[in-house]
């Protein structure tokens, strides 16, 4: 399945990606499978979205899908069909952390 991924600006700069990322991801399409595929294609992203060792989401990273915050969902929950069909992107967002 081809999944669209939106990276935050700093990670687009790091990867050299312009615009969205399109990735072939093996089913089942979950946060884990999407991020595994993303890090396999762009190894420099390892540690920037998830902790390298535990693979837990970094505290100031959020995952938005179809207008909903999926950050606290299980990484193995199936993502909505709109993501698996490519109709909607999997959005990786730098959380608001100002003051």
């Amino acid at each position: 399945m081809t999944v669209r991924i939106v990276l935050p600006a700093h990670l687009r700069t790091l990867t050299g990606v312009k615009g969205k990322v399109f990735l072939e991801v093996e089913e089942p399409i979950t946060q884990r499978s999407v991020l595994d595929a993303l890090e396999a294609t762009y190894p420099m992203l390892r540690g920037t979205i998830r902790d390298r060792a535990t693979l837990k989401r970094r505290p100031f990273i959020r995952f938005f899908v179809c207008g909903e915050d999926w950050s606290h969902a299980s990484p193995d929950d199936p993502l909505p069909e709109a993501v698996t069909t490519g109709a909607e992107p999997f959005m990786i967002v730098g959380a608001m952390a100002g003051g």
């Binding site: 700093h10 790091l14 420099m44 540690g47 390298r52 730098g94």
Partner: protein, 371 residues
């Protein structure tokens, strides 16, 4: 004719200033990695066009970047800093034990002889080595076995911020850790010992003979005297003449002996520089006067250097890695401030002027002389 390259790490990116030997006109490139905290960047003495950068962010964590063309282009190298084995715990602010957790790279120290070898000092405090130009990192865990369970973070975090490689003895390395102290290995990093005898920390450590727990801010060495180290401690400026076996206070007539950086003149091994800061709770120069102090006697006798520095209403700080010297015949001294100036002197400190202003908070300054 040589060029001089000043590598400036700031809170919001890295800047590279380049000049010829006259050091009159500076070309500025940057920000590199704009928006990221650059705790430190440093070039290899063996291959000056190889520059390593510690790039971090509260959002995206730690990255390491490397350039092989003097900072024109960069490539990410490994950010995999995994403690060896089960790192266990260290002391936490409330006296309980807290797991060792990697947070960031504070300092990068390339080998003086091998461009592929580089050391990284990290928070939570540990020393890592790479033998492949940063493509992989291995911890030297013997350091943490020197009462690491008693180390505890200071206000800035439990960071290993100073790495000094003995130029004559590849097996000897000195490191310093905030709120833990100074340490030395004589076997290439396998085993370590604390070297804190003579340090007094009356306000932080009730035990006058405490082996660890001293808040060392920075250490400097001149390569011609590798057994002589100069230390800016939390309070006190110190020196040792026997590689840390015993330290003596050399604060002398300084107006205050609190501060962060310390540097040694490139050609005068007993000429040292500090920037006194009012106190541990007021991190700015006393009386609002930015003064570098120079000792030409290896400490104790200090003179204020003020020519060209703001002498009223100046309330900046100079962080521990934000002072460096170049090796040109007329030694240049450089330091960066928390309000984004980099000041330089090309006459050993007699006169100063800013070589760049209005940068973000300066975290580190390093200088290269490039053939």
């Amino acid at each position: 004719m040589s060029n001089v390259r000043v590598l400036v790490g700031t809170r919001k990116g890295a800047f590279i200033l380049t000049s010829d030997e006259k050091r009159e006109q500076w070309d500025v490139s940057g920000p590199h990695f704009g928006g990221w905290e650059i705790y430190h960047l440093k070039g290899s003495a063996v291959n000056p066009n190889r520059i390593y950068v510690s790039q971090s962010s509260g959002w995206f964590g730690q990255l390491l970047q490397r350039s092989d063309d003097g900072g024109q282009t960069w490539e990410p190298v490994s950010n995999d800093f995994a403690y060896q084995g089960n790192p266990g715990t260290h002391q936490w602010y409330d006296g309980t034990q807290h797991p060792w957790e990697f947070n960031r790279v504070w300092h990068l120290e390339p080998s003086p002889t091998d461009p592929e070898t580089i050391y990284a000092g990290v928070e939570d405090a540990a020393l890592f080595r790479s033998g492949d130009g940063g493509q992989s990192w291995q911890e030297l865990p013997g350091l943490r076995s020197v009462k690491g369970n008693l180390w505890q973070p200071g206000a800035g975090g439990m960071c290993l911020h100073t790495i000094i490689l003995d130029p004559n003895n590849p097996n000897r390395i000195f490191v310093a850790i905030s709120a833990a102290g100074a340490f030395r290995t004589d076997d290439g990093g396998e085993t370590w010992q604390s070297i804190n005898r003579g340090l007094k920390s009356d306000f932080e450590l009730p035990d006058p003979d405490a082996d660890v727990g001293h808040c060392v801010h920075n250490i400097a060495m001149h390569p011609s005297q590798p057994d002589v180290l100069f230390m800016q401690k939390h309070w006190d400026v110190m020196r040792t003449d026997n590689a840390g076996e015993e330290w003596q206070e050399v604060s002398g007539n300084l107006p205050t002996d609190f501060g962060f950086p310390i540097a040694v003149h490139a050609h005068e091994p007993e000429t040292i520089y500090v920037v006194p800061i009012k106190s541990d709770s007021e991190h700015y120069p006393p009386e609002g006067k930015l003064r570098v102090y120079r000792s030409r006697t290896g400490g104790n006798e200090w003179e204020a250097l003020t020519n060209g520095l703001p002498q009223s209403n100046c309330y900046v700080n100079i962080l521990r890695d934000a002072m460096a010297v170049d090796t040109l015949d007329s030694c240049g001294i450089y330091f960066g401030t928390t309000d984004g100036h980099v000041y330089a002197s090309f006459d050993s400190g007699d006169t100063w002027s800013p070589i760049i202003s209005n940068l973000p908070r300066v975290m580190s300054v390093e200088v290269q002389v490039v053939p």
